[in-house]
């Protein structure tokens, strides 16, 4: 009841407002990065590519309730698709390479969705690990195509729109990443608010009831996996285009695990939370490991434990919790009036 009093607008208008606010925040953060940290654009572009991976993970984990430790397979699928097209196909147009990454991620997403969704709970988690390890072993074996452990090099994208080169200072790559993130964020907001998105949320809340209502659960989840794959693949392609190399690490268990950590850190089930989690976690890691490269892992571990204990719903819940504290302190006064 309090909510209706505080927000008189209709839910649809409010959702639009949130989307617009999110887009404005991304654009503003992007501009701040460009102006204040012109020497860190390489690092920030990596953050952007990872952000796409974490957003993609949020679609299946946060919105569909699928626990996965193998999501990097989708990222790597996109990265290798785009990288191999560039290195072996001689394609240089960055936009074509991004499209290839999107397609590669889509296919990997559909395939791994079909495998992972065969089980639930712990077996599902293990299937997801098996998928990413299998992909990694395969990429290692096919070293003629993928470069194996040596990494795939020889990716040299031409200038964007024939004008803006991908150089050492990384402005082009960074702006391309920010633009991609804006487009993806807007599209995903529309997706999660659509009837399809609501269906997926319903599956997470109560799969039996949704099934009883006649919805086709598995096809919906597989479709969501495909979309998720396309987003992750785009992230992989962005990484391939801007760094010019693709390594086995791009489809490793470690990358999958760290993506999940960032998502839960920010707050699963919220696109904004996924983005905030990625940025804060990566900046923290970057700062700590630059200051003391020898033992940053301990600090990161302690940070994670603290989040679980004190912020179980992630950083995105922080404002609400703080507001809750303030309200609790203010409440007695109002009660007296």
């Amino acid at each position: 009841m309090a909510a209706t009093k505080m927000a008189p607008r209709s839910p649809i208008a409010r959702d639009r407002l949130v989307t617009a606010g999110g887009l404005a925040a991304i654009a503003a953060a992007g501009a701040i990065g460009l102006v204040l940290f012109p020497n860190d654009l390489g690092f920030l572009t990596r953050v952007l590519a990872t952000a796409l991976l974490v957003l993609s993970l949020d679609l299946v984990t946060g919105y569909c309730g699928v626990a996965t430790l193998g999501h990097a397979a989708l990222f790597g699928g996109g990265a290798y698709a785009s990288g191999m097209l560039a290195a072996h196909g001689g394609i240089q147009d960055p936009l074509v390479l991004l499209a290839a990454g999107l397609a590669g991620g889509l296919v990997t997403g559909l395939v791994s969705g079909l495998v992972i969704l065969r089980a639930t709970g712990l077996p599902q988690l293990v299937l997801s690990i098996a998928v990413v390890q299998l992909a990694s072993a395969l990429a290692n074996k096919l070293s003629g195509w993928t470069g194996g452990s040596d990494g795939l090099s020889g990716i040299s994208p031409g200038p964007l729109f024939g004008r803006f080169a991908f150089d050492l200072w990384g402005q082009t790559g960074y702006l391309l990443g920010v633009a991609l993130l804006l487009v993806v964020f807007a599209a995903l907001r529309a997706l999660v608010l659509s009837p399809f998105g609501l269906l997926c949320r319903g599956i997470r809340e109560d799969v039996i009831r949704v099934g009883a209502l006649g919805a086709r659960v598995r096809p919906a989840l597989v479709a969501m996996y495909g979309i998720s794959g396309a987003v992750a693949g785009l992230g992989g392609a962005l990484s391939a285009v801007t760094t010019g190399v693709v390594g086995l690490d791009s489809l490793s268990f470690e990358r999958s695990a760290s993506a999940l950590v960032m998502l839960v850190f920010g707050g699963a089930g919220s696109l904004g939370g996924a983005l905030v989690g990625t940025v804060v976690f990566q900046v923290f890691e970057h700062a700590v490991s630059a200051a003391n490269p020898f033992h940053w892992l301990t600090l990161v571990g302690l940070l994670l434990i603290a989040v679980v204990l004190f912020l179980p719903r992630g950083l995105q819940a922080l404002p609400a919790r703080l507001a809750g504290l303030v309200r609790r302190r203010a409440a007695p006064a109002r009660g007296g009036a």
Partner: protein, 392 residues
């Protein structure tokens, strides 16, 4: 906090982020594994450089030399490139050094021309690396350089049938090719060639397979690190040593830091390598004393520290030749043909390949004063990188 101190703090924070380049300081970026499973080798990079600075001072011709370290735990080419980029753009380094793994070195190679930065490879050992840019030089070794003598040793010992077992990545394939070519040219027979995934830790099955072939020797290469120990133990425990099968390796497999863990079972293993910690020379004793001076412990000094020590010497020479200015080509030209006495023996930089020419020693694991060492028994003098210039 007063507004003034706030302002000061903000200014300090910004200057920290921007990393100002002082006119009088030449910065050198070092990328290596300072944490993680290969952390010991990063530590050796750092201590080798510090030992050199402790002996030779921190300035060249009045230019302060500052080394900036960046951690790259394992094989991660994308991060390697990003770190190199960051060091050039943000820290404004004039030189890069480091790279434990080949894929990382190859990724770093792609930014050198644009950044106008020479790069001294301190470990990565695939031959092709120095061909990727005219601004690359190397003070470590290549697989060809250390493996060709290994095959010659095998032939001298009368080995007829050999199994090659290498880690499945660039340097491993180089080692396989180098051994096969030299050994077959000398009339030997390679009965099986096994490529082991780089993450393997259980080598029992590999040894079983070797036994099936009935070979009288195994040639093995694995990058120095956790798996080498398991490999040697599996060789012994599966009865290959007892069956008089010879184990011939590059020194990566008998690194001094691993020998105590292998124990006496390691006695008698033959290896060919460019540096033994026990190498008997005044230069090496000086070097080891300097290493101890910067906190290196016995049993934790490995070949990476020598490469870094010599790498620092080369960078000092380049800074001297360019008088602290950023002139990459002039810097690289200054070290072509540069020769000096390294802790490992006499060395020089091949003007064509920009790779280090050095002695390669045949060694055998032995015990001296209760400590396991690689005792040098034969010298292959002045070896080039046979991978790039095949005629020695």
């Amino acid at each position: 906090m007063t507004p003034r101190s706030l302002l000061l703090a903000a200014a300090a924070a910004i200057s920290l982020l921007a990393g100002p380049a002082f006119a009088d300081t030449v910065k050198v970026g070092v990328i290596g594994p300072f944490s993680g499973p290969f952390g010991l080798f990063g530590k050796n990079f750092k201590q080798g450089i510090e030992a050199f600075q402790a002996k030779n001072g921190k300035a060249v011709k009045g230019h302060e030399v500052e080394f900036v370290y960046r951690d790259l735990e394992g094989v991660d080419p994308a991060k390697a490139k990003a770190l190199a980029q960051e060091l050039i753009v943000k820290e404004r380094v004039q030189y890069l050094a480091g790279a434990y793994f080949t894929p990382d070195a190859l990724a770093i190679a792609t930014v050198l021309d644009q950044g106008k930065v020479p790069f001294v490879v301190l470990n990565a050992a695939t031959s092709v690396i120095t061909e990727k840019s005219p601004l690359i030089a190397r003070t470590s070794f290549t697989m060809w350089q250390n493996t060709v003598p290994a095959a010659q040793v095998a032939l001298e010992k009368g080995v007829k049938k050999v199994v090659i077992a290498v880690s499945d990545y660039g340097p491993g394939l180089d080692a396989e090719a180098a051994f096969k070519k030299t050994f077959e040219a000398g009339g030997g027979q390679v009965v099986d060639a096994i490529r082991m995934p780089i993450r393997t830790t259980d080598f029992g099955p590999i040894m079983g397979r070797v036994k099936e072939t009935g070979a009288d020797a195994v040639f093995a290469f694995l990058p120095s690190g956790p798996p080498t120990l398991a490999f040697v133990k599996a060789f012994i425990d599966n009865g290959l040593k007892a069956a008089n099968v010879k184990l011939i390796t590059t020194g990566d497999v008998t690194a001094e830091n691993d020998l105590p863990a292998i124990g006496d079972a390691a006695l008698g293993i033959i290896s060919t390598y460019h540096y033994a910690v026990s190498h008997d020379s005044a230069a090496n004793r000086d070097f080891l004393a300097a290493m101890k001076g910067v906190g290196a412990k016995d049993g934790e000094i490995v070949m990476a520290s020598v490469a870094a020590y010599d790498g620092a010497r080369m960078i000092y020479r380049m800074i001297e030749a360019t008088d602290g200015k950023q002139e990459p080509q002039k810097a690289i030209d200054a070290i072509k043909g540069f020769a000096w006495e390294s802790p490992r023996g006499p060395v020089s930089i091949d003007p064509k390949t920009r790779h280090i020419r050095q002695n390669v020693y045949e060694r055998v694991v032995d015990k001296k004063d209760g400590i396991l060492i690689n005792r040098e028994v034969k010298t292959f003098a002045d070896q080039p990188d046979t991978g790039l210039s095949p005629t020695p």
